[in-house]
């Protein structure tokens, strides 16, 4: 279907269903129950899941296929956000011009940064991209360009926002929040109360989800294309490719630019959901986060980055909100001394300690599941498959030559 093989088609269908039904899947606990703490089906987090999913899919196109580890991808995320907010400031709250601009501008920056950084490979490439990203972070954090022209381009640490004094030449009276072509406001939410459960369907989320599905489909097509094969060949042995008389640079640059445009799109979507662009989006921690997402989910796999993005965002938003009061509620059935002891034990891993929990999980995954969450899923699947058919399998793959 749509130029995909059978397995890929089912993968795309699974991702589509997961994305469309996410408000149900991620809200498994009744609103009033104690477990509601772990519900993740509220608009802001759902949006983050899919937006960072797009970011990670794009990153995986570069890292998973070519093996070039970019440590500065967050720069494109920031550029995308600034582009969208500037369109709000100049035109109006329609998100479409901003998103188009976000992709174009991040693409242009990717050409420039990629052209220079790709002259080196391995660790040197990573350091170059990191240097570019940190440079751009410093410039936007202090608004150096803006100060040079005695105006404000990034609004420094406060972050770029829309003010009533901005030109906004296309603004209509009814516009006050980001919307899609005047059809629907991004923050409009339909809340469905079903018994004890409450599900929210947010327009912005579904917009992002559809874009994420398209982005995912595109990435599958790239993975399966001759272009994708070329990138993988570069990953396995670039020297050999060069010896055969092939110039690999244009392919690597193309992959870098596509990946940068994905990141720009994700950044643009962030600003489309929430009309603010901050320089922190460009910081090296944000660049590192996408690397973690991809490795945690499974680098080089199709669905891995999306899973990794969801995993990290879940921890950041859910675990950081658990506090001691909540813990006392959980363990209230225990005798007093034991309750305090349990709270004392769990305390370092929740609230401000969510980094610690995530770090431990990351270590466990990297040590025991080097292929990421996808490998975990495959192992479980194999476990069940083995139970069903005990027929002997061919253990050795046939050599290619």
């Amino acid at each position: 279907m749509l130029g995909l093989g059978k397995r890929d088609t089912s993968l795309v269908i699974i991702v589509t269903l997961m994305a469309l039904l996410a408000p149900f899947i991620l809200n498994p606990f009744p609103t009033e129950s104690a477990m509601a703490q772990f519900n993740a089906g509220y608009p802001d987090l759902l949006q983050r899941f899919v937006i960072f999913g797009i970011f990670a899919i794009g990153f995986n196109l570069l890292f998973g296929l070519t093996g070039y580890l970019s440590f500065g991808h967050a720069a494109f995320l920031g550029i995308g956000s600034y582009a969208v907010v500037w369109m709000y400031k100049l035109l109006d709250y329609n998100i479409v011009p901003g998103l188009v601009l976000a992709i174009i501008v991040s693409g242009l920056f990717a050409v420039l940064i990629g052209y220079i950084s790709l002259r080196r490979s391995g660790i040197y490439f990573s350091i170059l991209t990191l240097a570019f990203a940190q440079m751009m972070f410093a410039i936007s954090y202090s608004d150096l360009i803006g100060r040079f022209f005695d105006t404000s381009i990034t609004n420094g640490e406060t972050g770029l926002q829309v003010y009533t004094s901005d030109p906004q030449i296309l603004l209509n009276d009814w516009e006050s929040v980001p919307h899609l072509l005047g059809l629907v406001e991004m923050r409009s939410t339909y809340i469905l109360d079903a018994g004890a459960w409450s599900f929210s369907f947010n327009a912005g989320y579904y917009f992002c989800a559809i874009i994420m599905i398209l982005a995912f489909y595109l990435s599958v097509r790239i993975f399966r294309s001759p272009f994708g094969l070329m990138l993988r060949a570069m990953k396995s042995n670039q020297q050999r490719m060069t010896y055969t008389g092939l110039n690999t640079k244009p392919y690597a640059l193309a992959a870098f630019v596509i990946s940068g445009m994905y990141a720009g799109l994700a950044g643009g979507l962030l600003a489309s959901m929430d009309p603010l662009a901050g320089a922190e989006r460009m910081q090296w921690t944000a660049s590192g986060e996408v690397v973690l997402m991809t490795i945690l989910g499974g680098a080089g796999t199709l669905i891995g980055p999306v899973l990794g993005a969801g995993f990290i965002k879940y921890f950041e938003n859910i675990f950081s909100k658990i506090n001691d009061t909540v813990l006392h509620q959980w363990f209230s059935f225990m005798p007093d001394g034991l309750e305090d002891a349990m709270v004392f034990i769990v305390h370092p891993f929740i609230g401000k300690g969510w980094h610690l929990t995530l770090g431990i999980l990351f270590m466990l995954v990297v040590i025991f599941l080097p292929g990421g969450l996808v490998e975990g899923g495959q192992r479980i699947a194999r476990l069940f498959a083995r139970r069903k058919d005990t027929a002997p399998k061919e253990t050795q793959s046939t050599p290619a030559e």
Binding site: G156, E157, D193, K321
Partner: protein, 448 residues
């Protein structure tokens, strides 16, 4: 597939379950019924406490959290009621807010605008918070204030000292109890004149972000008005940890006062560097070299240790104040946590009380009603003397404390001493003052 499950019984069973499932969504919760975002429906009301729990201001954030928990206890009638006894408004009865028990959720701002907005959003969207309180950075406060304006909830700012929060970035749903950079400048100038004379040359080191800029601007204006000269202003990146390269040129600049427009870890490091360079022992232009830190906090002073001795700065509130409100607060905070509260803890406690009181007086949680109750509200007994919540920009006007590092500390919390309580009249300014111009309050937004 050869073995299909399509038996008559199976189909009937499945369709019955499906039918029941479809019938379940009994009604669509229309948020517009109540007329505002997150109208509390049950017997409880949820407040959102958004403070930095990780990052450079984590310590301030944790102290804020302690004070907020204490405020919730007092509102619910537990503990000794703290400042509720001394508060001039008697609307709060210790039975929650409007009879609803107060619950709270917490979030980590990480001192990043993005993360702060994400955690505020999750409190509003997921936990149904009607009010967001806390924070320890002006950049974050401005970002979260914008979010609350869009979402239709009240934002009671925590520690934010930039002029912009109630200046060019002011919002109708946002309220600030803390003082601001202009007030620091206005309060410090006369004290500095008395202490160091009116013929001084000042060198500014400024943290390169919204708070630093407005702090520097305010200090420069206030000190130049009394005759000081500004030699230079150098912007330092917020992430700097070593300021030696910025301090060295000060010695050769001919300046005799160093103004450190730094806060938190920046201030601890730059002050330590300056003291290590022996600046305070130098004689320049025939005068003793002096250091000024416009914005102080107990936690910073503790971090800088002996280096703060004799250094002048300003504060919103201090636990050593002897009025009834402060004494009551310090007592109940001390009994619960075994330490005196910091000035950011105080401001968050007071903001929570002021919000609860405004809801009681307005008789509704509707942000527009609450805003109306807070605008132009005059109160006393919360530690700062008679205070006004000005309607024009939602800024509190009250006395400002000028502090000095204690020369001979008697215990680990005795780091700062009060030099002067600058009366409110001296730090007031017009709503259209040039340092605060450019923004609009807009209209209050109830959401929904």
């Amino acid at each position: 597939m050869s073995n299909s499950n399509f038996t008559r019984r199976g189909v009937l069973k499945t369709s019955a379950i499906a039918g029941a499932g479809l019938a379940l969504p009994t009604y669509l919760r229309a948020a517009s019924d109540s007329g505002f975002t997150n109208a509390p429906t049950g017997s409880t009301v949820t407040l959102g406490f958004n403070v930095p729990q990780t990052g450079p201001y984590a310590e301030e954030g944790l102290d804020e959290l302690r004070a907020q928990e204490l405020a919730v206890q007092h509102l619910n009638g537990e503990g000794d009621a703290g400042m509720m006894n001394t508060f001039s408004s008697k609307a709060l009865k210790g039975n929650g807010i409007l009879g609803k028990k107060v619950e709270f959720v917490t979030g980590d701002t990480q001192t990043k605008s993005d993360a702060a907005r994400a955690s505020a959003k999750s409190m509003i969207e997921k936990d149904g918070a009607v009010m967001i309180n806390g924070g320890s950075s002006s950049g974050v406060a401005v970002a979260v204030q914008g979010l609350c304006q869009e979402a239709g909830v009240i934002f009671m700012a925590g520690l934010t000292h930039s002029n912009d929060t109630t200046g060019k970035d002011k919002k109708a749903n946002g309220f600030r109890h803390f003082f601001n950079a202009y007030m620091s400048g206005a309060a410090l100038a006369p004290v500095l004149k008395n202490a160091y004379g009116s013929d001084r040359r000042a060198y500014h080191l400024t943290a390169d972000y919204t708070w630093g800029w407005t702090q520097q601007e305010s200090m420069q204006a206030a000190t130049e008005a009394m005759g000081w000269e500004t030699v230079n202003n150098v912007l330092t990146p917020l992430a700097s940890t070593d300021f030696s390269s910025y301090i060295a040129p000060v010695l050769n600049s001919g300046a005799d006062v160093l103004v450190l427009n730094h806060y938190g870890g920046n201030m601890v490091n730059s002050l330590t560097n300056a003291v290590q360079f022996g600046l305070q022992d130098k004689m320049v232009n025939g005068k003793q070299f002096e250091i000024v830190v416009p914005l102080y906090s107990e936690l910073m002073a503790a971090g800088a240790g002996a280096n703060v001795r004799g250094v002048i700065g300003s504060m919103n509130w201090n636990w050593q104040l002897q009025d009834e409100g402060s004494k009551a607060f310090v007592k109940s905070f001390g009994e619960k946590y075994g330490r005196p509260p910091s000035n950011s803890a105080h401001t968050c406690y007071v903001q929570t009380m002021l919000y609860a009181d405004a809801v009681e007086r307005a008789g509704t949680f509707n942000p527009c009603g609450v805003a109306e109750a807070l605008e132009g509200f005059e109160f006393d007994g919360l530690g700062n003397g008679p205070t006004l919540y000005r309607a024009d920009d939602h800024q509190c006007f009250k006395d400002v404390l000028v502090m000095k590092g204690t020369e001979n500390p008697t215990n680990e919390y005795d780091t700062l001493e009060i030099v002067e309580v600058t009366p409110r009249a001296q730090v007031e300014y017009a709503p259209d003052h040039p340092m605060f111009a450019g923004g609009e309050l807009g209209k209050c937004n109830p959401g929904a």
